[in-house]
Amino acid sequence: MIRAIRRLGGMLLTLVVSSFIIFAAMFAAPGDPVTFLIGNPENMTPERIASVRAQYHLDEPMLLQYWHWASGALTGDFGQSFHYHQPVIDILATRVPITLSLVCYASLLLSIGGIMLGVLAAVKRGRPSDTLIVGSTTLAASIPSFVLGIAFVALFAVQLRWFPVAGAGSAGMNRIYYLTLPALTLAIGALAIVSRVTRQSMIELFSSDHVEAARATGLAERLIVRDHVLRGSWGPIITMVALVIASLIAGTVAVETVFGISGVGSLLVDAINTHDFPVVQAVLLFMVVAYMVVTTAVDLLLPILDPRIKQKGVSA
């Protein structure tokens, strides 16, 4: 119980600190939101600038502005977007599901693909297929996601016309179809790290005593791999997959822009460029929360999968 409270307290503190850092960073960033709020250069008279500043509390000291924001956020009011002139919460509500489906789809692809490749490489360790897997996934990881995305669009959408070039589609199967290329783009970069961790932790176990013992009993190699090697390796694999998934949410920034998806990633890019403070603040906090949720979920999941782990965790 105390642990849970302490943990919750830690998360809250993380939120407060990160929200403050984000706010301060936006505040210090070059560029004046007033320029975007007025828009028309011919209207940028000193009087108009002053009145817009006052209207948006931009003339107040940073701490006071932060207080305005934080007190609103506590009551669930994240303010109005400077650019969309709609409540930030409404804007996020339409975009979060799109980004989450993209991240879930990509997570599924990278965990299944990464773990399978890792198992294969571990079983065939030292053979050409191992080298091929390690080499090709490392190569794939070295390609920035927006370059890969552009190449995918050019090949699979424009040239072969297998997939749509832009958008997130409507609900259901249509969405899965639309999100396949973006999800692949996000997942491919992460394949290397997941397959490498899987391979490494399995190889270590292959030479451990209990595996040797199992082998001595004449158990089939297939069962040894499944019940003794892979089972013992879940800890590091799941920890790594979780960390990768948590970072995918930030990775959507480039991928959503390339694929013309209106999710939180592309929203963040636009909001930063137009100094839309309330939206930047809310999107980054969403990313922080998502990160904490994923890592916490893993901490809770690990002891169930691997009873050896009881009190340790990855923690946010």
């Binding site: 960033a29 070059p30 560029g31 004046d32 007033v34 320029t35 975007f36 007025i38 828009g39 028309n40 250069p41 011919e42 209207n43 940028m44 008279t45 600038i49 009145s51 209207q55 650019h83 969309y84 002139h85 709609q86 409404d90 804007i91 339409t94 975009r95 799109i98 927006f146 370059v147 552009i150 190449a151 669009v153 050019a154 090949l155 959408a157 424009v158 040239q159 016309r161 749509p164 070039v165 832009a166 958008g167 997130a168 409507s170 480039a254 822009t257 390339v258 694929f259 013309g260 209106s262 999710g263 890019v269 636009d270 930063i272 460029n273 137009t274 100094h275």
Partner: protein, 549 residues
């Protein structure tokens, strides 16, 4: 005027994507990519060929997500592209950018400070209620209210009064010849007060009801996904027979727009950056059209140092290679230009403006030996500045090309110049932040005006104008601007405006670079829409139809 907001990352990714697109295009048709870059040409007209028949559904791409349908809060280009079809205005811009009648069947200046509008009594809002003269007065007052986005259009207006069943008299403090032009823009939208009052703060949001009376209305708006407009059944103006039943708007960055057109997922798009149309030159499925707009790239000048001397500005203008810029930054889809505002501003007396434009000197397309000699002479007279010139840039490829061309121009006439890169998000602050302006002598930017009257631009040369950053002051010029505003007669106003244009260009207040026409990419299956900048105010979807019967 309004500023378009290109975003840095999008520009970068966009170029990479266009390059990728180019690669696949090469591999598919086997052309070699080593040919010299050539200046491309697209048909230039006010409108695309007439449609042959109606069309059920058209998918149209926007450069950004619509934000709000309340134009009094703000209207981006994406918002305007939709509002143009859903809302009627007091006046209406025509595809050729001249001014036509709208909800006001006629408008007449009775003296210097009174304009009388006659309001049509047969118009009907989307909710079925008639558009009354009171509703029009209410709408104008909403636009004029302090803090409303279009309130600057009403700055000379003292009162708006209903003076008859179908008459409204607008009283101004001083003559304002371009007030009626403004009434064809967002400041002239006629709102349904009952809807706006019922919606309250929700008005303009995706779930809001329509407060307009235009030939289309929003059928559905799924934020983050798409927005659909549908033809209004029994549109009150029976002269207008809309051809497109439904237009589905989607949005993406430039490269995704190009790809959507290429694969046939979308049928058309008005582009914010003409250069992006290059991927379609020579395409058999998609055509590129260009038409008049007021947009022009200019080098805006500050009073930081040497450029307060008109001779230095003139010399730089003479030495600038505008043709080179048009080819390098816009693949030839921009025109070397002698004035700081595009031909789309010539909404009246077009011939007079054209002749005056042709006669202008001081901004050659490509500098000749004589031009360079004259420029060097000017520098010799003015005395070479002690410090190098500083040119602002935000690092985008267009800004960099223009900034580098200016560095080359300066070198050619014996001046030193360097480039100051300012982050994308800060670049707009050149307009609002005197301290930032103090760091550069010039900065390139794309400027446009929302009314089709060059006077609306040249007023910026007044010594008191907000965007005259201290390099130009001429009492006679100031007087001419006032006379221009007083000249409600088009011919007279054109004459005065032409004189203003001459003085502006002679003094190189800002250095004109290239005019960027409105650029449209459209599938060959549909046609009919304007290819001019009229699409932000004129209901272009009514003309959009099938190219085959």
């Amino acid at each position: 005027m309004k500023k378009s907001t290109h975003t840095g990352i999008r520009v970068t990714i966009g170029f990479a994507a266009v390059a990728a697109l180019g690669l696949t295009a090469c591999s598919s048709d086997g052309n070699s990519g080593n040919e010299e870059p050539q200046a491309l040409e697209a048909p230039f007209a006010a409108a695309t060929p007439r449609a042959a028949g109606p069309v059920e559904s058209v998918t149209w791409m926007l450069g950004g997500e619509p934000t709000t349908m309340d134009a009094d809060i703000d209207a981006t280009t994406a918002d305007d592209t939709i509002l143009a079809n859903t809302c009627d205005r007091l006046m209406q811009v025509q595809p050729d950018l001249t001014l036509g009648a709208g909800i006001a069947s006629s408008a007449e200046w009775t003296d210097d400070t009174h304009v009388v509008l006659t309001i049509r009594q047969d118009a009907v809002f989307h909710d079925g209620s008639p558009v009354s003269t009171e509703d029009v007065v209410w709408s104008m007052k909403r636009h004029a209210a302090e803090g409303a986005a279009e309130s600057d259009e009403y700055q000379n207006v003292v009162s708006i009064d209903q003076t008859g069943t179908d008459k409204i008299t607008v009283t101004t403090t001083q003559p304002d010849a371009i007030f009626l032009q403004a009434m064809a823009g967002d400041g002239g939208i006629i709102w349904n007060p009952r809807v706006i009052e019922a919606e309250g703060d929700n008005f303009g949001s995706p779930s809001s009801a329509s407060a307009c009376s235009g030939p289309y209305q929003i059928e559905s708006w799924e934020p983050g996904s798409q927005l659909t407009i549908v033809k209004v059944t029994n549109y009150w103006n029976t002269d207008v027979q809309a051809l497109a039943e439904r237009v589905v708007f989607r949005w993406a960055d430039e490269s995704a727009i190009a790809n959507s057109l290429k694969t046939g997922e979308a049928d058309g798009a008005y582009l914010e950056n003409a250069g992006a149309a290059v991927a379609f030159m020579g395409s058999s499925d998609v055509s590129v059209f260009q038409g008049p707009s007021t947009n022009a790239w200019v080098l805006e000048t500050t009073d930081r140092g040497a450029l307060t001397d008109a001779r230095v500005r003139q010399a730089l203008s003479l030495a600038l290679d505008r043709e080179g810029i048009a080819a390098a930054a816009f693949s030839g889809l921009a025109q070397p230009w002698k004035t700081p505002v595009g031909a789309g501003a010539w909404g009246y007396e077009v011939d007079a403006f054209q002749q005056a434009f042709d006669a202008l000197e001081g901004a050659p397309a490509a500098p000749s030996a004589d031009n360079l000699e004259a420029a060097k002479q000017l520098i010799a007279e003015a005395g070479a500045p002690s410090a190098p010139l500083v040119i602002g840039s935000n690092g985008s490829s267009t800004h960099n090309v223009i900034a580098n061309a200016l560095v080359a121009a300066a070198k050619a006439i014996g001046l030193e110049a360097e480039i100051l890169v300012v982050p994308q998000a800060q670049y707009g602050d050149f307009y609002s932040d005197a301290e930032l302006r103090g760091q550069a002598d010039l900065w390139p930017d794309e400027y446009y005006i929302s009314k089709n009257d060059p006077l609306g631009f040249y007023k910026n040369g007044k010594s008191t104008a907000g965007v005259n950053f201290g390099v130009f002051s001429d009492p006679e010029y100031d007087k001419l601007v006032e006379q221009g505003y007083a000249a409600t007669d088009d011919a007279k106003r054109a004459e005065i405006t032409i004189e203003l244009q001459k003085r502006w260009v002679e003094n190189a207040v800002w250095i004109p670079v290239v005019a960027t026409p409105a650029t449209l990419i459209m599938s060959n299956t549909v046609t009919g829409v304007p290819s001019s900048a009229a699409y932000i105010y004129y209901p272009w979807a009514v003309d959009l139809g099938s190219s085959k019967e």
